[in-house]
């Protein structure tokens, strides 16, 4: 036992040990960061072509997870005239309207409409028993498909980083804890800096070891979609730019079978609705997302794009990966 408490490390003068420990933490974090950068090798893969039949909801899922899909579906229902957002005093509600037909709804939109019923509050969309729960089947399908295409970080990538992550934790915690015990055993109790170093090191290591939800390939694919459809964004917005002069909003126009504004929201996020007649939707859902997130999940916008958020929705990344965090990082 003597060797454990009587060796150069255990008896090292505190400030010197802190310098050594600081270097050790720094070196460990560097190694961890280098290892992490090697885990995602998808940038070596060739980018998949843009399909002729674009699924705007799958793109929305890639960009921001199931919450982004839910937002897009609600917007589709609103744009197609099935629901409307109304202010009832201080409360905002989504009410059903009386549409002439359901023929132009696709399956996911019908499911959302059935869930909606007559009236809902925006925050209900994101609650654990809300629309996002109804869309679980779609979540699984999109997740599996995009993981298979290596656009989302899969379990294999996470597990390949797990060993290095735990090794880093062990080094940082192990050295700190050992010195802490040795110091106490030698009767030194001024260990606050040692504790601060350990905790800071562990927090930074945890932050570094967090893999982005979207892989390099997925990110490049999103950028490619945004490049391909960038002029669509402006063309789609143009008829809906808010104006003080009364005018008729055009009926939904199709664009190779896809509504251009819906596709734009899928590809770029609801932030593109700013300044249009749908701005109220944009603002309402930002607030709803914040309310829902605040009540069920402590992680904020800053932690978006991580696959290891503690958020119960299990889907992070939010639109900070594509369309601005204001759209609601999940």
């Amino acid at each position: 036992m003597d060797i454990l408490l009587d060796n150069p490390l255990a008896t090292m003068y505190g400030p010197y040990f802190l310098i050594l420990y600081g270097f050790l933490i720094f070196f460990t974090l560097i190694v961890l960061a280098i290892y992490k950068s090697q885990v995602d090798k998808t940038n070596n893969l060739s980018l998949p072509p843009i399909p002729a039949q674009v699924d705007q909801y799958e793109i929305a899922y890639l960009r921001g997870g199931i919450n982004e899909v839910a937002r897009s579906v609600i917007f589709a229902l609103m744009q197609k005239g099935f629901i409307e957002i109304l202010k009832d005093g201080t409360k905002t509600v989504i009410n059903k309207t009386s549409p002439p037909t359901r023929r132009n709804l696709i399956q996911i939109e019908q499911l959302a409409l059935d869930w909606h019923g007559n009236s809902r509050e925006p925050k209900e969309v994101f609650e654990s028993n809300g629309l996002v729960a109804q869309l679980e089947g779609y979540r699984q399908m999109y997740q599996a498909r995009l993981e298979q295409g290596q656009m989302l970080t899969g379990d294999d990538m996470r597990s390949s980083l797990a060993l290095s992550r735990w090794a880093a934790y062990l080094v940082i915690f192990g050295f700190g804890a050992y010195k802490l015990l040795a110091s106490i055993a030698h009767g030194y109790y001024n260990v606050i800096l040692l504790v601060i170093f350990s905790i800071t090191g562990l927090v930074i290591a945890a932050s570094i070891a967090r893999l982005p939800r979207v892989t390099k390939l997925g990110k490049a694919y999103l950028e490619r979609l945004q490049l391909a459809f960038d002029n669509l964004k402006y063309q789609a917005q143009a008829p809906y730019i808010a104006s003080t002069v009364p005018r008729v909003i055009p009926q939904q126009a199709t664009f190779a079978g896809v509504d251009p504004l819906l596709l734009s929201v899928g590809v770029f996020g609801s932030a593109i609705l700013a300044g249009t007649v749908f701005d109220s939707y944009n603002q309402t859902f930002q607030r709803a997302q914040q309310q829902s997130t605040a009540s069920s999940c402590s992680s904020g916008c800053g932690s978006s794009c991580s696959s290891e958020s503690s958020c119960s929705s299990g889907d992070s990344g939010g639109s900070s990966c594509g369309g601005g965090c204001g759209g609601g990082g999940d």
Partner: protein, 271 residues
């Protein structure tokens, strides 16, 4: 030229159509890109070029080789076009039978050359330089013009025939330009077709013409008219066209209208 791959019917790539193109990929066989838009390009334009290349066969079409300039080819420009062609790896690339620079000054217009032996020599020399640098098949486009040189020693059809023979280039026959010139200068386009080596025709350009006062103009802004379809049809029955491009630069219609024109052209090429 007969060994070249048939590309089908496409359109001249314009930003306005970009999103439509990706959503209608199966209906557009290939794209013609304006080379000048990708020379000294910003990274975003290079990304766009890569994106287009991965989804469509591309044909670079340049504007400023100025093959008819007596001062010779601008070597910097040629080098940039060569780099673009190497990157795009097209079946062929093209420019115009005209001059766009004089004394090193850009004139901002596709100007006709006098149909003389001297200009023929200039063109042959310049084209030989281009072909010496770029090994990809090179094809030459007939332009529309509003004036003809009194000093011309031969007809346009004879000039083009001799040029194609002496340079072994293919012909990018702009049927709209042919129709416009024939109307503006009072000859029949069929007679023109009779005189040129139609086996050299590789690609066609087509678009509607625009009447301004008494003159027809190649404005690239109108739907192809029946008279021009008639020229297109005749050319397709008389030669093995490898590709045809709809050139639309202004007054953009809904993309469905563009697709209709592509469909019409496809039917004519098939038949």
């Amino acid at each position: 030229m007969e060994k070249l791959t048939k590309l089908g019917i496409g359109i001249g790539f314009r930003q306005h159509f970009k999103s439509d193109l990706f959503l209608h990929q199966t209906e557009v066989d290939f794209l013609e890109i304006t080379s000048d838009h990708y020379l000294d390009a910003r990274p975003q334009k290079i990304e766009e070029l890569k994106l287009l290349k991965e989804h469509f066969p591309l044909i670079p079409h340049s504007l400023e080789l100025s093959l008819g300039s007596a001062e010779g080819i601008d070597e910097d420009y040629l080098e940039k076009v060569a780099e673009l062609v190497e990157f795009v790896e097209p079946e062929w690339f093209s420019d115009h039978i005209c001059f766009t620079k004089s004394g090193g000054v850009k004139i901002g217009h596709l100007a006709p050359v006098p149909y003389t032996n001297e200009s023929l020599k200039v063109l042959v020399k310049n084209i030989s330089k281009v072909k010496g640098r770029i090994k990809t098949p090179f094809i030459l486009e007939n332009i529309s013009y509003t004036m003809r040189f009194p000093s011309s020693e031969m007809s346009e059809s004879e000039f083009i025939t001799r040029l194609l023979q002496e340079t072994d280039c293919g012909l990018l026959l702009d049927v709209t330009n042919l129709y416009i010139n024939s109307k503006n200068f009072g000859y029949h386009w069929r007679g023109f077709l009779d005189k040129i080596p139609l086996e050299k025709v590789v690609q066609l350009h087509f678009v509607g013409s625009h009447k301004h006062n008494d003159y027809l103009i190649d404005a690239h802004a109108h739907k192809t008219q029946d008279d021009i379809w008639e020229v297109f049809r005749e050319v397709c029955t008389r030669c093995d066209v490898k590709g045809a491009i709809l050139e639309r630069d202004e007054n953009f219609p809904p993309f469905e209208e563009i697709l209709e024109e592509i469909k019409t052209a496809r039917n004519l090429v098939k038949n």
